[in-house]
């Protein structure tokens, strides 16, 4: 990854200038041309290193969400993961090394909807979920600093 690529991502994962020519403004700040910026964004995008460029909405306003964990017996992981993934309300699902080994985020139009979904999950899997809604946010996904050893995939 060239140095400009990294500086560009590190700087603009936090905020893109709200002005008529944002990439020109980025270029001015980084000391390069607008073309340099657009070329690198396009390259990163082609290599799937860019998730998207655009507004990041505060989704807690669009409804309710919670973090859920299940303690799934080793032999049932594939089966339960497939059952969980089939829910539209599930948008992240990770397997983690712990007794509580399946972790996913539920989102829905209301807390009531989440309660119903949690009930369905319990009935379907026979497993009692841990329901861990956010109480206070100290830091909400503003990205994190990218080190110089970051790689661009080929």
């Amino acid at each position: 990854m060239d140095d400009l690529c990294l500086r560009m991502l590190d700087r603009f994962q936090h905020d893109l200038p709200i002005c008529a020519a944002p990439y020109q403004a980025m270029a001015d700040e980084l000391g390069c041309t607008e073309d340099d910026i657009l070329q690198r964004l396009t390259l990163l995008n082609q290599r799937k290193a860019l998730s998207r460029v655009g507004p990041v909405f505060e989704h807690s306003r669009a409804g309710a969400s919670t973090l859920v964990a299940l303690a799934v017996p080793e032999a049932r992981i594939e089966e339960v993961a497939a059952q969980i993934n089939a829910f539209d309300e599930v948008n992240h699902n990770y397997l983690r090394e712990h007794n509580w080994n399946l972790w996913f985020v539920l989102t829905g139009p209301s807390r009531e909807h989440l309660d119903q979904t949690l009930e369905k999950i319990e009935q379907l899997t026979g497993l009692t979920p841990l329901d861990l809604p956010m109480l206070t946010a100290y830091q909400i996904d503003l990205g994190f600093a990218l080190g110089k050893n970051s790689q661009v995939p080929t």
Partner: protein
């Protein structure tokens, strides 16, 4: 975060969510692209974005990297049992560490004692272990127990599909 957002801005925000879910095109004047589709002038579009950001409806406007593809394949969910009396002060400090992407207080439950969650990221296992130690140093005696849940597999990762959910209603 202020809750005041006008009804018309609310509707425009919904349109914006649908319009930009997959990202804006990589063109020199993305706001003009947006303005045309929103049926607004470019100036009105910029003013709308600014208002939505000021009221907190938009967290940020950003080039969001796919950290996984940049080599950050290790993520650890560090969880901490922190004294309730000190959690707000310490949560702010941990949340501001540059390698922490999310930091939340969550409830203690039966079978789950940890009330502070901080997500850390790294290029390898050593890096996230090191980051975990830096958090531990910050928490000191206010922390009674902790662990780190390393992800071994991503089973599902999709963006929010608000547009789809709305249509179902």
């Amino acid at each position: 975060m202020s809750a005041s957002i006008s009804r018309s801005d609310q509707q425009l925000a919904q349109q914006l969510i649908t319009l930009t879910e997959a990202g804006m095109p990589l063109v020199a004047d993305p706001w003009a692209w947006m303005a045309e589709r929103m049926n607004l002038s470019v100036d009105d579009t910029l003013a709308l974005l600014q208002r939505l950001q000021d009221t907190g409806a938009i967290r940020r406007i950003a080039a969001v990297p796919n950290h996984y593809r940049l080599g950050y394949t290790f993520n650890g969910m560090t969880v901490w049992d922190v004294d309730d009396e000190h959690i707000d002060r310490l949560g702010e400090i941990v949340g501001n560490l540059h390698f922490v992407s999310h930091c939340y207080r969550r409830p203690r439950l039966e079978g789950w004692r940890y009330n502070l969650f901080a997500m850390v990221h790294g290029l390898n296992a050593e890096q996230i272990e090191y980051e975990r130690n830096l958090i531990r140093n910050q928490l000191g005696d206010a922390c009674r127990a902790d662990t780190m849940l390393v992800s071994t597999r991503i089973l599902k990762k999709t963006g929010l599909r608000l547009a789809a959910q709305r249509q179902e209603k």
